[in-house]
């Protein structure tokens, strides 16, 4: 791969829309982080893999958790190890570099070739987390204060950030990102997705399952609407049990695979039960 920005056109296994391609290419050309948002199960995380694959670059992943701090992504100074080593006289304690461990972001800067860095579910961390990353993502460099060394990215990594919108991200952070919102797949795309996961599935079952699925999604009283992965699981269960006909009524088979909340199950039973359909 040359260092000049190459165009992303999706891959064989990752179906991407025109808007998504434009967003990825903007991020590549302008060398800005790409922020991807969308409902769970719309393939936000897979996008990074697809981009890495199509650019032929290595993918580094940083899974953000509620306890993650921005510093963890750059480097961690293992003080406790050093303290113990000094106590028990193991190793060269004076060489502080031995106790600096690079985080995913630090590693992507230090890497010799350009890499794709996925910062997954950035909104899981504390509200201040994205702000702490602003400078590093902007300048693509940081300083290890313990050793007084600068880590400067030789090649700006392609940064892809996903968010489930659990927390509002700060404006200053948003301004620096290229934004893309992944739509929930429409029926046509969903049929292709189901086809990828369950090749050779009976067509009438696919048709019926999709119909039920979108009817449920349009049912406004649900607390949690089923998403792609739930549909795929549900069809797997249907297939395993040899079900050939599904219809949205009170004895819909394995509804628990689609709806995970008790209130939702009750609401559906109430609205679609006993054959009388009430429009939701």
């Amino acid at each position: 791969m040359t260092s000049s920005p190459s165009r992303f056109r999706g891959t064989d296994s990752y179906l991407s829309s025109e808007g998504l391609q434009a967003a990825v290419n903007c991020a590549l050309t302008l060398q800005r982080p790409l922020l991807v948002r969308g409902e769970p199960g719309t393939g936000k995380t897979l996008l990074a893999e697809a981009v890495a694959e199509s650019l032929g670059q290595r993918l580094l992943t940083w899974h953000v958790k509620s306890t993650t701090r921005a510093q963890d992504g750059l480097y961690v100074y293992d003080t406790v190890q050093r303290l113990y080593d000094s106590r028990f006289g193991e190793g060269d304690v004076r060489d502080i570099r031995r106790y600096i461990r690079m985080g995913p972001l630090g590693e992507s800067f230090a890497s010799k070739e350009r890499v794709v860095l996925l910062i997954d579910e950035v909104d899981k961390a504390d509200v201040e987390f994205p702000n702490d990353l602003l400078h590093e993502l902007d300048r693509m460099r940081f300083r290890i204060s313990e050793t007084n060394e600068d880590v400067v990215a030789a090649h700006r990594p392609v940064v892809i950030i996903t968010s489930n919108n659990e927390k509002e991200l700060p404006d200053a952070f948003l301004r620096r990102c290229v934004f893309h919102f992944i739509d929930f797949p429409d029926q046509e795309l969903m049929r292709r997705i189901v086809g990828v996961h369950h090749p050779g599935l009976d067509e009438s079952l696919t048709e019926q399952a999709l119909k039920v699925f979108y009817e449920l999604r349009n049912f406004t009283r649900l607390r949690k609407r089923p998403s792609t992965s739930e549909l795929v699981d549900w069809i797997a269960v249907l297939k395993a049990n040899g079900v050939t006909n599904v219809k949205l009524d009170d004895n819909l088979p394995f509804l628990g695979a689609l709806l995970k909340r008790e209130q939702d199950l009750m609401a559906v039973a109430e609205a679609f039960g006993r054959g009388r359909r009430t429009k939701a």
Partner: protein, 402 residues
């Protein structure tokens, strides 16, 4: 060339600034839009919009700007009339539709169209009269009379840009607008901002800096220091109006309640119900039983609790002045007026907010206005909730400001 478009976006509440303009210029210079309007739509959307709440506004701005409804009026009009003349020869029209067309005299139509174009100040979808999309008016597109009399679209962009217009016109992101009433997840997001942390409880987290300092003081002998972990420290009192005029909003308010209950980032959440106005007592259930008297409540909860009241504040004026005692019974001599009870609540807490499901336009000249003088009031929409939360998380209010 695209600068007026940016101002159009700003006018519609999409916060774009110099940074976005520079980024867009850079992308266009690099040819990312493939010199097509479709490409421009996608590139501009990726760079100018930062949240899905603005996608709908972006689509609208894009339509308004590039459809030339305001800009290229003359050209547009000519095209429209061209189309109209053609329309009579169109084969795909049913006899009924053709009959309908015969109804309209071209000249008359032209007059009508111009007149409406002048009257109309903004984009319009659905409906029967205005020029826009999806309606039954003879003007606009995707309407009932077959393809409608398409405004803009094909000719205007010279063949290109059809997709972009279609996408923008579909307004698929309407559901994500920030100013529509909330769904549970969005509410949860908004409430999450209320959290604050404090270190309390069992010390089971390693304090690295502390350990180093202690070890150094201890002449190099390892000394491990621990500290309590950070825990949420927000306490909330939620009061909710039930029954009567609040019935239309029952579903909405119950969602807010369930979200607040599920929120794990509150150290304490107390929820109470009242009807119309607080009369000395708030209740445990929506059936107005159980509960606690207001003086007891104020004794139990500190000033640092955040008070959130949800109600429409609409009632008969006498209900604000009715005197009741702390048991909630009518007591014309010893009791306090409803409004006074509200004031006591407002005065006790350092931060409080009133969420009102009634649209803000209706907040004048009725009991809402009186209540609004006591509490800071916010509409019960995503934006309003966000503002209320921001208001609640600020420091203390100036005491006795009212």
């Amino acid at each position: 060339m695209f600068l007026p478009f940016l101002y159009e976006l700003r006018r519609r509440g999409v916060p774009v600034g110099a940074q976005e303009a520079v980024a867009l210029a850079g992308a266009l210079k690099a040819g990312l839009h493939d010199s097509s309007l479709d490409g421009f739509y996608h590139v501009a959307r990726a760079l100018l919009v930062h949240a899905e709440t603005h996608l709908d506004a972006f689509d609208q701005a894009f339509l308004a700007h590039f459809k030339g409804m305001e800009g290229a009026g003359q050209q547009l009009k000519d095209e429209l009339l061209e189309w109209l003349k053609e329309a009579r020869e169109r084969r795909e029209l049913t006899p009924e539709e053709r009959a309908l067309l015969e109804h309209f005299d071209v000249e008359e139509l032209e007059k009508l169209f111009q007149q409406r174009l002048e009257e109309q100040t903004e984009r319009h979808d659905g409906g029967k009269k205005w020029i826009g999309t999806g309606g039954a008016s003879p003007f606009g597109h995707s309407g009932n009379p077959r393809e409608g009399f398409r405004v803009g679209g094909e000719g205007a962009e010279g063949g290109g840009g059809r997709m972009a217009m279609k996408i923008a016109g579909a307004r698929r992101y309407q559901g994500y607008r920030g100013d529509v009433v909330l769904d549970t997840r969005q509410m949860a997001v908004a409430l999450r901002k209320l959290r604050a942390f404090a270190r309390e409880g069992v010390a089971d987290e390693l304090d690295v800096e502390g350990s180093i300092a202690a070890t150094a003081k201890n002449a190099g002998e390892l000394e491990v220091v621990t500290r309590p972990p950070r825990r949420p420290n927000t306490r909330v009192v939620l009061l909710m109006d039930v029954g009567g005029s609040m019935d239309p909003y029952a579903h909405l308010v119950s969602r807010l309640f369930s979200v607040a209950k599920q929120a794990t980032h509150f150290k304490e959440l107390r929820t109470y119900y009242f009807h119309n106005c607080v009369y000395g007592r708030v209740f445990d259930s929506p059936y107005l039983v159980g509960g606690i008297s207001v003086p007891d409540l104020l004794a139990q909860v500190g000033r640092h609790h955040k008070l959130v009241v949800v109600g429409d504040a609409l009632m008969a004026p006498y209900e604000l002045t009715m005197r009741t005692n702390s048991e909630g019974r009518y007591d014309p001599t010893e009791g306090k007026e409803g409004l006074v009870w509200l004031m006591e609540l407002a005065r006790h807490f350092e931060r409080s907010a009133w969420l009102n499901p009634e649209p803000p336009q209706t907040w004048r000249g009725n009991t809402i206005q009186a209540v609004k003088n006591v509490f800071d009031m916010f509409p019960l929409t995503l934006e309003g909730l966000g503002e209320a939360v921001a208001h609640l998380t600020k420091g203390r209010m100036v005491r006795g400001r009212r």
